[in-house]
Symmetry: D2
Subunit: 345 residues, 4 copies
């Protein structure tokens, strides 16, 4: 099979990571990435040998790149014309207008979780609904938080039946590279109750009734979920069998806070840096084995989410679904993850 | 009635606050406070005109105060001999040995929530079990977190019936005056699941089944609770009637995050500083009105707890219970709180 | 002498503190405070028995207060007409237009350090230039940082002669009640080199050549200054005699980090809360005795600045200067500080 | 020339980074790394194909690795016997006893900046004294802070003459993977004045008189230095020529806070993650071009130090010095840095 050409529209926190993950795959290549103008990120694109395009088709905007010292291949239309599919990694609020552009260009498209489900009417998570997305025109990879919930809850649902979930999300208030946002010394509840995070899971997975509450706290590195699950009666599980289930689940890492000396997200992120992925990313959801406890039908556990990167491999899988390249989600995940691993030093 | 003489054993974060609250009451006085040796806190005791005693009876220890430039009235035994009741505000791990001293001295005693319920076999919260504590020999005022849960859950239970509660506690990792503890940039789950915090409520209140999970976050100023309550069927409540209920509940303040511009614990604490209590304390539990939502039988809400001070007025009420001074908890709360308010400038 | 009537235009972080400090004085009273509209702060004004006025004279604006449930006495013009002097505590950028209003009303006026020296052509610090300000029409109390520098440097200059100073200011990035500003986990240099902070001292004091650099760090509670002073040759001082000098200086507190267990600004602020001033304020500049060292002609030391309150007593003294009530700065400081102390419980 | 065999004793924050940097070099290889027992880090060693040894020679200690599921090649003595030189990356306080072991084994050795200069009587910084270290028996690579000062000050000294420097170090209080240390919301001055950091530079470089003060702040990612340099009269430099000088200096990166949108260390570290080095490291010292200003003879500037990694390439160069492999420091730096760059994806 010849390589699928993937355009990446937007080259920031998510775009740059998706680009490197696509580059590592045997069955796809990056046809180009876009920036709005000459800036720091253009240098990164060049270092990674990624063809650079302008987010707009305006000739003056395009010319600005050359003046800034960067080679540019053209505008968004040029990029779309040379591509089989586009992954939209633009900042929020651009979804509606970008969607129209993709539809007009007749190109398949993948949005991120910042956009609403209604934009495409279809959402995506590898383990939840890969099949539903096969050959679709467009989809939306759900947010980092929803992806995290899917990773640990879907195998539980598959093993036991319908679940009822309450989740409190303790969210990092700003990304590591952002020095403007606070708070410095406070906890800020999200005063929309329940929050939108949990219910978003239902856009990709049935059989899980879920409600969530959220607070923002002064940290930059990971979200933590505190989760309470009601399993159906006669579930036949124990704490250990739940942990075994997750141990066999792709993109879930479980370790002990006490034995492995990982008491907080600080140590989780340090462990991730040791793995050696670009930007010190952790694509996996982290579960503390000594933070999980099944009591009767009620399972309680903590998990940590690397908000900058857990959706990255999902975007790769979504390309395979929409392009009809691989119908089995486990097979796609296996290619995606082993190719990324092989690309590391 | 002549004034009840209250000894305060330990003059740190809790002890100094309890002392000022007792000083403000018309029916009690502080017979003395203890320190282990000459230090900064002794100056505070003198400024507040609080008789100073040594935590031990050792003559050398006592003499050390004079050398440090502080007048000292004697040792703990001397203080207990001049007092009707003692409030133990010693740091953790001293409970067992201090308890024996109080029993030997034949004096009534009140411990703090750092000690276990089993130490005295009795615990105390004004709104939960004041009556049970009348004329008791000794009791334990429950922790700041348990006190916070009691304040909002007990009126709900009284209004509707048996409750089932899941709570996630987002805890400040260190007190404002403590520069040693971290984390600086992380979230640390409490890897004992469920945590001990919620169930402690059952030592003072029946009819509330509660489980809790906890994480520590990099802030010094308040705990936040994210609470999910299952009300009994036929409860007849609405979100508004729940908020009305709390508006009438002593030691609960509810305000709007959006209208009153209090989006986080930073602004809650600033509002508290405006009240003018010593140390900028907030004795009340803070509930965000726009963070509460009743959906069917499920109530979800956030509350913030000033970990340094919500138990202070409870200690005053506990004195009245153990000394048999006031049998009605609402009457005691009214005297305690209005006396503290009158003592402010 | 009859009481001088002081208007306070603006009732936020500085205004509320100045109001309480004025209320505590025997020779002045607060004629009123202003708010832009009905809000949380109006309740505080009422609790403190401070007559409330509207920042504007617009009748609709004024009427809004009544609708919000607050009694209002009128607009700014009404307040100025009933006052002998006005202290401007409005947020930044209002200086120019407010200044014109005060001039038009023919009322004496005091601005805060957020305004430029050129607005009034005169600035004020109690220990630096009280005399220069006697009977002046208007002045500006310098900023918290400049006030801090004046407190420790002016006595040094008076004792030894002309000083040359380099200062690095490690600034709290946001106030305690502000949850919007970051950074959460970063250090942000002020990329204007040198910064404006140090040289501002020269608006009130001669004989001190000073340059400063500044960084913002993720803390809310105090600024810290790292100061290097070149004393003139033949200064005759030792580290101990410098510490003695500061011990005798009003509004400077010096304590030992190791002996008094005050290793950081967290413990400094806790010590301040023990003093019992409203909002836990520390009007004094805090110097670590074990952080000062004189080596040849070079003195190095650290000091901590409570950014919310060190200028408060300076505003009181400035009233006495402009109104010609007290010509000796030390006498004014003595009245101001002892009156504030006497007002505490 | 055959490859020099480098042993790395200690495989933590510094050891793991040094190992990867050595692996990237054409003229050296890692003969082995040591751990005290089976733990997380052993897995990293295996993933990087680094022969694993036990820190001790005790047979029981060695056997513990196999029980933990890790292959181990032997004890420290075995490793030293198979190596040409050892880089000591043990935690502090081990220097004295390890030094004796290396002397006894007759092996060349390099210590880190946590040890004192007196341990080996010789210290090392590439740009300062590579020549002095040629063929030496043992040396010490200076600390991250001293290395940072050397990078920007030595070229200045070489261009102008003797320098006099005052530096305030605003230090990160804990490393990113450490959740135990605080403070959460405070600034802690280092109450040894002056601090040891600056003067340590004199162990590697003459002609620079330097004094330093230090504070710790609640951040995990970088130190910032606020530096004031007195250049000799007749220096002939301008702000621009100083910036040009640094632009040509190896291992110094200078960018604009405003134009490049790098206002704080958060954005500096994000830029570093884009470079793609393992752990997101920044080996270079970062200087803000708009934070530097030369006024007469006085130069003021800010620089940021990645405390986990700026010394890593220096260790590689130090191997070349002690082994007599390359006598010219610039040539060694060129090989080191280009080899590391080539090893990145």
């Amino acid at each position: 099979m010849s390589s699928v050409r993937v355009a990446i529209n937007g080259f920031g926190t998510i775009g740059k990571r998706v680009a490197r993950a696509i580059q590592a795959q045997p069955d796809m290549s990056v046809s180009g990435v876009t920036k709005t103008g000459p800036s720091h990120g253009c240098g990164l694109a060049q270092r990674l040998n990624l063809p650079l395009y302008c987010t707009s088709d305006d000739l003056e905007d395009i010319a600005a790149f050359e003046k800034g010292g960067y080679n540019v291949e053209g505008g968004l239309s040029d990029l779309l014309a040379n591509s089989d599919i586009v992954i939209d990694c633009a900042p929020g609020k651009m979804g509606q207008s970008n969607h129209q552009k993709y539809v007009d260009a007749g190109i398949k498209h993948i949005f991120q979780g910042g956009e609403k489900h209604s934009l495409t009417g279809l959402s995506y998570t590898s383990s939840a609904n890969h099949k539903e997305n096969i050959d679709a025109k467009g989809t939306r990879v759900v947010s980092c938080n929803t992806t995290g919930l899917a990773r640990t809850l879907i195998p539980l649902r598959d093993a036991t039946g319908e679940l009822s979930v309450e989740c409190t999300m303790i969210r990092r208030a700003a990304d590591p590279g952002d020095s403007r946002k606070g708070p410095i010394n406070a906890i800020a509840p999200v005063l929309k109750v329940p929050s939108h995070h949990g219910p978003d899971l239902m856009t990709v997975a049935g059989g899980i009734g879920i409600t969530s509450l959220a607070v923002a706290v002064p940290t930059t590195i990971m979200h933590v979920h505190s989760i309470v699950v009601e399993l159906p009666g006669g579930h036949g599980m124990t704490t250990d069998s739940v942990l075994d289930l997750w141990a066999k689940t792709p993109r879930v890492i479980s370790m002990s806070g006490s034995i492995d000396k990982i008491p907080s997200t600080a140590e989780v992120m340090e462990m991730a840096r040791d793995i050696g992925r670009p930007w010190g990313d952790l694509h996996e959801i982290f579960v503390w084995t000594d933070g999980a406890s099944l009591d009767g039908n009620t399972l309680r556990y903590f998990q940590a989410i690397h908000q900058e990167s857990d959706v990255i491999p999902e975007n790769v899988d979504a390309v395979r679904a929409l392009m009809g390249m691989e119908h089995d989600w486990r097979a796609s995940v296996e290619i995606t993850d082993s190719s990324i691993a092989a690309s590391l030093v």
